[in-house]
Symmetry: none
Subunit: 182 residues, 4 copies
DNA sequence: TATGAATGAGTTTTCATTCAT
DNA sequence: GATGAATGAAAACTCATTCAT
């Protein structure tokens, strides 16, 4: 039932937008009464948090795995494969990407995005520390830059659908990353 | 008077946040009655749009000028100087950056950001067309990538204050851009 | 089971106050489901009535006995002993006194208080009819005045704890009563 | 308008009872919209407080004057006249007496009643200190007992309309008081 | 033109009560 | 009988908008 409500919440969010997401509408979409909703969630806030949480649980692991699963590859291969998969995942979950970056207030999403970025940045930072001797910038700085750059360009690509191919984006991301690390 | 209302709107937005920005509060901050507000704006929507417009008018020209004023420079110098100035502008207008990217709903900001991005992208695209013969990617693709990359990393840097210097960011942005164009 | 519910109701009333006494909370305190509560009581009203009834059953007899058991004593002794016991009983049941006079709506308590007052007044009236020839006022008027006076002052003393001794109150009540009857 | 709302609140309280007094009903009775009510009062609580305050302002001074205006009389005359007037006032404001002692939750009324009782008790205590040398009980104890006794019996008389005359009650109150002070 | 009191639909939330299991 | 999830009407309160002055 919690799941039903969360699904309904997600749906209302997608269909009506954040500002038109009311507890009554969510209850309606879940096919329950407003009172029932409050047997599973203490307030509206908690319903929205659950929707965001569910998204994170569903997608964040996939996103982290994009890097995690390839930490044994050499940088270039890791990057190409990761960016490729990343785009796959985001393209397959366009609606959620839109929800997180376009629909929900930043404050509600920030904790999850921050956590994911930190998680991936840590991975990348560690990877770089091992793969590369010291350099112009610290591994954590590199990670900060690369993670945000790749993330943002992929998200933008997925949502704004610019007039160049998916392959082009991956190629250019790899090139940018390689240039940065060279 | 329109200006007074817009200023008040901006102030309320900054001090109270989007969700606590009511027409009454804006009227109050403008020292007028709610009824008067509706003689200058048809509805709340329009007030917020005007606030965003005013922001764009105030900052967007500066931002565009960052590139415009240097179209005669060679790429590397143009980039370094532009990124430097861009960071200056954003750092000097942190509050507005926060408003546009963290406080206001994306839908309200998107038209302006898109317009600015298109404007700068066009400039950059044209510049690249002239500066560089054909290449891996079209000038407009390059522009799309570079503009979004630089913009996003600078905005993030300004708002999240990561533990590396402003100079480092500029250096790395130049390096990334140069690598992309090479 | 009815008893369990009534006990729970009393407990919730004491701990949470009348306005925060919900049927769900009572059921919870009774360790049963809200549905079960409705197998023993038709509605919330009835539960509260039962709580008040139980209180009356528990205390009212003691209170009536204060007089009943002493109808063979001469007036002054009867009064002194009765008031003394009355105070004992009320002091020993302060929580219930508070419930009846401060927590519950008057309408819910009135029937029981009225009944008790009538019962005691009748006793006292009868006693006075026998003990005393005719006088300034009828026995029932005397009873009305004395019962309410003593009851109210004792209740107030118990709940408000004024800065004089219990003994003083008893002395003064006896004196007042004696003065009235003289 | 505040007055209109307070009047409406009082009326709803009288006609529908405390538990059926809702902000919407009060607004309705005042002939205004629920929103308007909230331009004059921050919440329901405040409306009810204002109703009680208005009552106090209207009646409490009269009640206190009952004693204040006669502090130069000898005790017996003071008492007789005061009790007489007190009954007049309470009989003339039966509806308000009912509201304060029967309808509203004790917690809402207590501050006002306590204040009034303290005010009158202080007066009486001071009067007794002057009129009478030391005695069985302190003036403040006498005041505590007399004020509560008289108040309660008068209130009960007014609300319950027992089968004896108003004059009888006054006579007996005087007698009781005199007996206490003798 | 400016006002600001008035509006009332819409929001979140509660809770006495029901009923399928 | 017992359950407890589900109900839904009703409550307090908000706020964009209007309109008589």
């Amino acid at each position: 039932m919690v799941e039903r409500i969360v699904t309904a919440g997600r749906q209302v969010l997608v269909e009506h937008g954040y500002e038109r997401t009311t507890t009554n509408r969510v209850a309606d979409a879940a096919g329950i009464s407003p009172g029932s909703l409050y047997q599973y969630f203490p307030n509206k806030e908690a319903v929205l948090a659950a929707v965001v949480d569910a998204y994170s649980a569903e997608i964040a692991d996939q996103l982290a795995a994009v890097v995690t699963d390839r930490l044994d590859l050499p940088p270039l291969e890791l990057m190409r494969a990761s960016y490729d998969d990343l785009l796959d995942i985001l393209l397959a979950n366009r609606e959620y990407v839109r929800l997180m970056t376009r629909e929900l207030p930043h404050a509600r999403v920030a904790p999850h995005v921050d956590q994911l970025e930190r998680r991936v940045s840590d991975l990348v930072g560690t990877y770089l520390s091992a793969a590369r001797p010291t350099d112009r910038v610290s591994p954590s700085t590199s990670a900060w830059i690369l993670v945000r750059m790749v993330e943002h360009l992929c998200v933008q690509y997925v949502l704004d659908d610019p007039p160049f191919s998916r392959q082009t984006l991956v190629d250019e991301l790899v090139r940018l990353s390689a240039g940065h690390l060279a």
